[in-house]
C-alpha cells in the first residue's frame, strides 16, 4: 500500500479513473444498440462506483466503503439477473436484441 | 343557520332527485324549487334593511390552519341577488319541462347544484369560501351547456369553462396573497373579507407594478371575464347560443352577476387607491362594451346571439355604474343587475319557447310571429321595452340612475354610454320587427300547421304563462315601485359609497352559536 502512495498515486487518481470508467459506462448505455451490451455498460457504471467507494474507504480510513461495495455488488447481481431475464424474454418473444426495435410507444 | 340552510337545501334536493322515479322528476323538482323560493322569501322578514351590516351571519371554523372560515352572511348588496337566484330555479325548471328530454334527472341535479353554488358565492363572506363556490358553479353550468346544448355545444362549453377558469385562477393567487397580507399586518391569517377591508395594501399611484394594482388586476380579470367586459366577452355569445334555454337564463340572469357582484364586493372596496387610479380603464372598457355590444348585436343573424351581445352591452352599463362609484350610479348598477336578470332572463325564455315551436334561431327565417301567436308577441314586446329601458319598466330606473350618476363626475363616459340607449332600441326593435312583424314566414306557417296537426297550441301555453307572468309582473313592479326594492340595499350602498377607502362592515350573527371563536392553531414563522 505504501508503494502506491510512494509512486504518487493518490485519491484523485482513483476518482478520476472511476469517473472515466463511469463515463465509458454512460457512453455504452447511450450508444450501444445491443441490449446485452447496454446491460454490461450498466454493470460497468456500477463497478466504477465500487471503485469510488473503495478509494474513498481506503483514503478516509474507514471500512464502510468496502462494505458498501458488497451491497452494491449484490444489487448489481440482482440487477443483472433481472436485466438478463428481461433480455432473454424479449429475445424469445421478438427475436431481437436491438434497442432501436423497441420504439412502439412514443409521442 | 338560515342562510346555510338556504345554500345547502338545493344539494339535498339534488340528492332527493337522484332517487325520485323518473316519471315524477320534473314535478318533484319544481315543487322543491318552489318551496326553496318561498323559504328564501323569509329573508324579507329576517333582514333589517336599515342596517348596512352583514346580517344573519354564521361563522364556523373551516380550515383554521389558514384562518379560513365557513362564513356566510347577507347584506344589502347580496340581498336581491340571492332572491333572484332562488326565484329563477323553479322558473327554469318549468321552462325546461318539454325541451329537456334526455337525462332529465341529471339536468335537475345540475340545476340544483348550480343554485347552491350561486347562492353560496353571493352569501360567502370568506374569500376562499367565495372562491370555492364561484369556481364550483362552473361545473354544473359546464354540463348544462355541454350535455343539453345545441350543435356546437362542445366548443361553447369548453370555451366557457376555460375562459372563466383563466380569470379565476389568478384571483385565487390574489386571495392567497391577501391572506398572507393579513398575517403580516394582523399577525393572524384570515380569509374573511371583512378583515381584508381593514388591510393597508401598498399602493403607488402611477406605477403599474405595485401590490394593490396587481391584486386588483388579478381580481378584476376574474370578474371581467365573468361579466363579461369587452374584450373578454367572446365566450358569452357562444355559450348563450349553444346553451339550452334554462342554461341561458341562469347564465345571463345570475352567473354574469357574479362578476359584477365581485367587483362590488371585492375590487372596489378592497383596492380603493388602485381602483381610483385605474377606474378610467374600466370605464373605457365598459363604455366600449356598451357601444360595441350594441353595434354587433345589430348585425347578428341569430336571435340568441343578438340577445347575448345585448347582454354584453347591458353589463357594460353595470360596470360603468360600479366604477363611476357614486351613490346614484352604484344604486343604479345594483338595480340594473336585477333588471338585466329579469329582462334578459325573460328574453331567453321567450326565445326558447319560440325555438321550441319553430326549431330555428335565424332571424331571417322568421316573420309575422305576432299574428300567429299574439300573446307571445305581447310578452316579447313588453320584455323588449324593459330591455331597452322604456320608463315604467324596470330597465329604465337602473339605466337612468347609472347615467345620472356617471354624468355627475364622468361626463364624457356618460355621454358616450348614452348612445347605447339609442343603439339598444335599434337592435331590439329591429329584431322584434323581423321576427314578429311583417307577413307570416314559411317557417312560421309550416310550424304552426305542424303543431295544429299535433293538436298543440302555437300561442302561449299555460305552463309558459305560468313562468312568464312573474317576469312581466316584476318588470312593471320594479319599474313603478323601485322603492320597494331599493330600500333593502340603500343602507349598504350608501355606506359603501360614503366610506371609500375606509370601508368596514359590522357583522350581526344570526344567533349566539353561529359565531364560534376561531382558534388559529397554526402560526407560521
Amino acid at each position: 500500500m505504501q508503494n502506491i502512495e510512494a509512486i504518487g498515486i493518490g485519491q484523485n487518481h482513483y476518482l478520476i479513473l472511476s469517473a472515466i470508467i463511469f463515463s465509458i459506462g454512460i457512453m455504452g448505455v447511450l450508444f450501444r444498440k445491443n441490449i446485452i451490451m447496454m446491460l454490461m455498460s450498466l454493470e460497468l457504471m456500477l463497478n466504477a462506483i465500487n471503485l469510488t467507494f473503495i478509494a474513498f474507504g481506503y483514503f478516509n480510513g474507514n471500512l464502510n466503503g468496502q462494505i458498501m461495495v458488497f451491497f452494491v455488488m449484490t444489487l448489481a447481481a440482482a440487477e443483472a439477473a433481472i436485466g438478463l431475464a428481461i433480455a432473454v424474454m424479449i429475445y424469445r418473444k421478438f427475436n431481437e436484441v436491438n434497442i432501436r426495435y423497441f420504439e412502439q410507444m412514443k409521442g | 343557520m338560515f342562510l346555510s340552510t338556504l345554500i345547502f337545501m338545493p344539494f339535498v334536493f339534488a340528492l332527493i332527485v337522484l332517487f325520485v322515479p323518473s316519471k315524477y322528476i320534473r314535478s318533484v323538482s319544481f315543487g322543491l324549487a318552489l318551496g326553496h323560493f318561498f323559504y328564501s322569501l323569509n329573508l324579507l322578514r329576517f333582514f333589517d334593511s336599515s342596517s348596512h351590516a352583514i346580517q344573519l351571519a354564521q361563522k364556523i371554523p373551516w380550515l383554521p390552519s389558514l384562518g379560513i372560515t365557513y362564513f356566510v352572511g347577507v347584506d344589502g348588496i347580496s340581498f336581491w341577488l340571492v332572491l333572484l337566484s332562488t326565484f329563477l330555479t323553479p322558473i327554469v325548471i318549468l321552462a325546461s319541462w318539454e325541451s329537456i328530454k334526455e337525462n332529465v334527472r341529471g339536468f335537475h341535479i345540475s340545476l340544483f347544484a348550480l343554485t347552491s353554488f350561486m347562492l353560496g358565492s353571493f352569501l360567502a363572506i370568506d374569500g376562499v369560501l367565495f372562491y370555492v363556490f364561484f369556481e364550483a358553479s362552473l361545473i354544473p353550468m359546464y354540463f348544462i351547456i355541454g350535455i343539453w346544448g345545441g350543435q356546437r355545444r362542445l366548443y361553447a362549453t369548453v370555451k366557457f369553462f376555460i375562459y372563466t377558469m383563466l380569470g379565476s385562477l389568478f384571483m385565487l393567487l390574489a386571495i392567497i396573497y391577501l391572506m398572507k397580507l393579513t398575517q403580516v399586518q394582523f399577525g393572524q391569517m384570515s380569509a374573511s373579507i371583512l378583515d381584508w377591508y381593514k388591510l393597508e395594501i401598498p399602493f403607488v399611484a402611477g406605477e403599474f407594478i405595485n401590490t394593490q394594482t396587481l391584486l386588483m388586476i388579478a381580481f378584476s380579470l376574474a370578474f371581467a371575464i365573468k361579466v363579461p367586459l369587452f374584450p373578454l366577452h367572446t365566450w358569452l355569445p357562444d355559450a348563450h347560443v349553444e346553451a339550452p334555454t334554462s342554461g341561458s337564463v341562469v347564465l345571463a340572469a345570475v352567473m354574469l352577476k357574479m362578476g359584477t357582484y365581485g367587483f362590488l364586493r371585492f375590487v372596489i372596496p378592497l383596492f380603493p387607491g388602485a381602483v381610483d387610479y385605474w377606474s378610467w380603464v374600466f370605464l373605457l372598457l365598459a363604455v366600449v362594451g356598451i357601444i360595441y355590444g350594441a353595434l354587433v348585436a345589430m348585425v347578428q343573424p341569430d336571435v340568441k346571439k343578438l340577445v347575448a351581445y345585448s347582454s354584453v352591452s347591458h353589463m357594460g352599463y353595470i360596470v360603468l355604474g360600479l366604477f363611476v362609484f357614486n351613490n346614484y350610479s352604484v344604486t343604479g348598477a345594483l338595480y340594473q343587475m336585477l333588471n338585466h336578470g329579469i329582462s334578459t332572463g325573460a328574453l331567453f325564455l321567450l326565445v326558447g319557447l319560440i325555438y321550441e315551436r319553430t326549431h330555428s334561431r335565424e332571424i331571417s327565417k322568421y316573420g309575422g310571429l305576432a299574428s300567429a301567436a299574439p300573446w307571445i308577441g305581447i310578452c316579447f314586446l313588453i320584455v323588449t321595452f324593459s330591455s331597452i329601458a322604456v320608463p315604467m319598466t324596470n330597465g329604465f330606473v337602473g339605466e337612468f340612475l347609472i347615467l345620472l350618476g356617471s354624468f355627475s363626475t364622468k361626463k364624457p363616459f356618460a355621454v358616450a354610454a348614452s348612445t347605447g340607449v339609442v343603439l339598444g332600441a335599434a337592435y331590439m326593435l329591429w329584431m322584434t320587427k323581423k321576427v314578429f312583424f311583417g307577413v307570416e314566414s314559411d317557417l312560421v306557417k309550416s310550424e304552426k300547421l305542424h303543431l295544429k296537426e299535433k293538436g298543440e297550441k302555437f300561442d302561449l301555453r299555460w305552463r309558459e304563462v305560468a313562468y312568464l307572468t312573474p317576469f312581466l309582473g316584476l318588470i312593471f313592479w320594479m319599474g313603478i315601485f323601485p322603492g320597494h326594492f331599493l330600500s333593502y340595499s340603500t343602507a349598504s350602498l350608501q355606506h359603501l359609497t360614503q366610506s371609500k377607502g375606509h370601508y368596514e362592515l359590522q357583522v350581526l350573527f344570526a344567533s349566539e352559536n353561529d359565531s364560534k371563536v376561531v382558534e388559529n392553531n397554526y402560526q407560521g414563522k
Binding site: - | 374584450p231 347615467l403 315601485f481
Partner: protein
C-alpha cells in the same frame, strides 16, 4: 269633487280603458270596444274641464293645483314623486288632449269598424292618452320623461298597428329610434339641470334660476337647454330629426290626427314653454331654436309642395307648422307658440280626420292624383275640410290667422327676432297656402279622377260629427287670442283671453317701440302672400291644369330634388345607417371573430401544436431518453458551477 280625485280619475280612466281593452285585445266588436275607449277618454275630458274650472276659480297668482301620489324614486338627493301639477299651461294641454282625443276616439269608432283588432287599437289609444297626460301634468322632468317616452312608445305601437306590412312596422321602428336620439338629449339636459339645481321639479328649478342670462355656449344652462332642445327636435319633428313624422303616416289616420298632429308632436313645444324661464336665460339656444324652427317651417313646406299622398302633404304641413311654433318659442313668444299649438291642434286634427274620411271613402287610397271632385260625393267632409284649409292658410279671422299672425309679428318685433326670420316665415306661409290649396283642388275640386271600381260615399255620422265639432273650433278658437291692434278696431273690444290666461306663467315679450302701423303692414303682407299663393295653386290645378307639368319640366332637377324630399332620407341611409350597419358587421367580423377569437384560437393552437411538437422529443428511443438524463445532469452541474 276635490282636485285630487279629479286628477286621479283623469289619469285612471284611460288606464282602465287600456287594461280592459288590452286584455280583450282579440275582440272584434268595434262598437263595444270603441264606445268603451271613447267613454274613458270622455271621462278624462270631463275631469279636465272640472280641473280647469277649479283652476280658473282660483285667484290669478295661485292658479296651481298639485297632487302627489307616491314617491317613485328616491336615491340620495334625488327624490322623484309620482306627482302632478295643473297650472295654466297644463290646463290648456289637458283640454286639448282629452277634448280632441275624445273626438278622435269617436271618429275611430267609425274608422276602425272594419278592422280586425279594434280592441287593441283603442287600448293603445287610451294608453297614449294616459302617457300624454302624464307628460303634460307631471311636476318634474323625470316623470315628464316617462310620459315623453311613453307617448313615443304608443306612437311606435300605433304606427306599426298594421304590422303585417313590413313597411309600416319599419315606420314605427324609425319613429321610435329617431325619437330615442332626441330622448338622449332630453336625458342629458335633465342630468345637467339636476346637478346644477339639485332638483328636477319644475317649480323648484324655476325658483332657483339665476337672475341674469347666460352668455356663450358652454354654461350649464345653455348646455342643458341645448340638450333639451335636441330632445324636442326628436319629439316635435324638427330638423334634423323630422324624418320619422312623414313615415309615421303609416299608422291609422285618426292616430295621425291625434298623435302626429294635435298632441304628441307638440310635446317639444310644451316642454320648452314649461321651462320658458330657463330657456330665456340661454339666448344662444333661443336663437338656435328660432333658426331651426324657421328652417323647418320653410323646408317642410317646400317638400309639401310636391307630395302626392294626401297624408304626406298633411304630415309635412305638420312639420312646417311645428317649425312655426319653435320659431315663436325661439323669439320668446311662448304665448304665441302655445296659441298656435292650440289652433293647430284643432285645424290639423280636423284636416287629418277629414283626410281619414276621404281615405275611408276611397277604400284606403291615399294618392291625390286618383281623387278629384270629391266635394260632391263627400259634402260634409268637404265642408269641414274647407274650414281647415282656410284656417291653415291664415284666412282672416279663422283660428290659424290669429295664431300665425301673432307668431310672425313676434318674430319681427321681438328683441330676439329678426326680419330675416320673419321673411322665411312668410315664405313658409306662402308655400303652405300653395300646397294646401293644391291639396284641396286635387282632392275635392275639379274633375273626378277616381278609379271606376271605387265608389266614394260620405262617412257615417260617428265620423262626421267630430269633424263638425273640430271645424267649429277651427273657425272660432282663434277669437280667444285676438291681437290687440285688431281688438282695438273690432267692435266689442274682445280681450285676449289666452294671453291673459298664460301671463302669470310665461315670460312676456315686450314690443316697446314697435308701431302698430308696422304690425298692420306685416299682417297685410302675410295675408296677401298667402292669398296670392292660394290663388296661384288654384290657377295651377283647376284653371290651367297643364301649367304644373310645364313648370315641373322647366324646373327639372330642382323639382326632382324637392320632390325627393331633398334626399334627406337617402342621405341618412347612405351616410349614417348603411355605414353603421357595415361598420358593425365589420366590427363583428374583424374584432370579435377575426381578432379576439382568432387570438384565442392562436393561443390555443399554439399550445396544442407545442404539445404536438413535444411528441418529436418523446420519440420512444430509450437511448435518447438516457441522453436527456445526461444532458439534464450536465446542464445542472454547469449551471451550479458557472452560472
Amino acid at each position: 269633487m276635490s282636485h285630487q280625485l279629479l286628477l286621479s280619475l283623469l289619469l285612471l280612466a284611460p288606464v282602465l280603458g287600456f287594461f280592459i281593452n288590452g286584455f280583450n285585445f282579440s275582440s272584434t266588436k268595434a262598437i263595444a270596444v270603441g264606445t268603451l275607449g271613447t267613454l274613458c277618454s270622455f271621462i278624462s275630458f270631463i275631469c279636465s274641464l272640472g280641473l280647469v274650472l277649479k283652476l280658473g276659480g282660483l285667484p290669478e297668482d295661485q292658479r296651481r293645483l298639485t297632487v302627489e301620489f307616491f314617491n317613485w324614486l328616491q336615491v340620495a338627493d334625488l327624490k322623484i314623486g309620482f306627482s302632478f301639477i295643473v297650472d295654466q299651461i297644463s290646463a290648456v294641454m289637458i283640454l286639448i288632449i282629452t277634448g280632441i282625443g275624445t273626438l278622435i276616439h269617436l271618429f275611430s269608432v267609425g274608422y276602425m269598424s272594419h278592422d280586425l283588432r279594434p280592441a287593441k287599437y283603442f287600448a293603445y289609444l287610451n294608453l297614449f292618452l294616459f302617457n300624454m297626460l302624464l307628460l303634460v301634468l307631471s311636476d318634474n322632468l323625470l316623470l315628464m320623461f316617462v310620459g315623453w317616452e311613453g307617448v313615443g312608445l304608443c306612437s311606435y305601437l300605433l304606427i306599426g298597428f298594421w304590422f303585417s306590412d313590413p313597411a309600416k312596422a319599419s315606420a314605427g321602428m324609425k319613429a321610435f329610434i329617431t325619437n330615442r336620439i332626441g330622448d338622449v338629449g332630453f336625458l342629458i339636459g335633465m342630468f345637467i339641470l339636476f346637478f346644477q339645481f339639485g332638483t328636477l321639479n319644475f317649480v323648484e328649478i324655476l325658483s332657483r334660476l339665476p337672475a341674469v342670462a347666460e352668455l356663450g355656449w358652454t354654461g350649464p344652462i345653455t348646455l342643458s337647454c341645448l340638450a333639451l332642445f335636441i330632445g324636442a327636435t326628436g319629439k316635435s319633428a324638427q330638423i334634423p330629426l323630422y324624418v320619422w313624422l312623414p313615415d309615421a303616416m303609416a299608422g291609422p289616420t285618426p292616430v295621425s290626427a291625434l298623435i302626429h298632429a294635435a298632441t304628441m308632436v307638440t310635446a317639444g313645444v310644451y316642454m320648452i314653454v314649461r321651462l320658458s324661464g330657463l330657456f330665456v336665460l340661454a339666448p344662444n339656444v333661443m336663437m338656435l331654436i328660432a333658426v331651426v324652427g324657421a328652417a323647418t317651417a320653410l323646408f317642410a313646406a317646400l317638400i309639401g309642395l310636391t307630395q302626392w299622398d294626401i297624408k304626406k302633404v298633411l304630415a309635412y304641413s305638420t312639420v312646417s307648422q311645428l317649425g312655426y311654433m319653435f320659431l315663436a318659442v325661439g323669439v320668446g313668444a311662448f304665448g304665441g307658440a302655445m296659441f298656435h299649438l292650440m289652433t293647430h291642434a284643432f285645424f290639423k286634427a280636423l284636416m287629418f280626420l277629414g283626410s281619414g274620411s276621404v281615405i275611408h271613402a276611397m277604400h284606403e287610397e291615399q294618392d291625390i292624383r286618383k281623387m278629384g271632385g270629391l266635394a260632391k260625393k263627400l259634402p260634409m267632409t268637404h265642408a269641414t275640410f274647407l274650414v281647415g284649409w282656410l284656417a291653415i292658410i291664415g284666412f282672416p279671422f279663422l283660428s290659424g290667422f290669429f295664431s300665425k299672425d301673432e307668431i310672425l309679428w313676434s318674430v319681427y318685433a321681438s328683441p330676439n327676432g329678426h326680419p330675416l326670420l320673419w321673411f322665411i316665415g312668410v315664405c313658409g306661409a306662402g308655400c303652405t297656402a300653395f300646397y294646401m290649396t293644391r291639396l284641396m283642388a286635387l282632392t275635392f275640386w275639379g274633375k273626378s279622377r277616381v278609379p271606376k271600381e271605387i265608389h266614394p260615399h260620405e262617412s257615417p255620422l260617428v265620423m262626421t260629427f267630430p269633424l263638425i265639432i273640430l271645424a267649429f273650433f277651427a273657425l272660432t278658437i282663434g277669437w280667444v287670442g285676438v291681437p290687440h291692434i285688431l281688438a282695438s278696431v273690432l267692435p266689442g273690444h274682445i280681450p285676449n283671453v289666452f294671453e291673459h290666461w298664460l301671463e302669470p306663467v310665461v315670460p312676456k315679450l315686450s314690443f316697446i317701440g314697435k308701431s302698430s302701423l308696422l304690425e298692420w303692414a306685416l299682417m297685410g303682407i302675410s295675408v296677401s302672400v298667402a292669398g296670392l299663393c292660394a290663388w296661384l295653386a288654384f290657377d295651377f290645378y283647376i284653371v290651367h291644369k297643364e301649367r304644373p307639368k310645364s313648370f315641373v319640366l322647366k324646373m327639372g332637377k330642382l323639382y326632382q330634388f324637392v320632390s325627393h324630399k331633398f334626399y334627406v332620407d337617402e342621405f341618412y341611409k347612405q351616410r349614417i345607417l348603411d355605414p353603421l350597419i357595415e361598420g358593425s358587421t365589420a366590427l363583428w367580423a374583424y374584432v370579435d371573430v377575426n381578432f379576439i377569437d382568432r387570438l384565442t384560437y392562436f393561443i390555443a393552437d399554439f399550445t396544442v401544436s407545442a404539445g404536438a411538437g413535444l411528441k418529436s422529443i418523446q420519440n420512444g428511443q430509450t437511448q435518447q431518453y438516457a441522453l436527456y438524463i445526461l444532458l439534464g445532469l450536465v446542464t445542472t452541474i454547469t449551471w451550479i458551477l458557472v452560472g
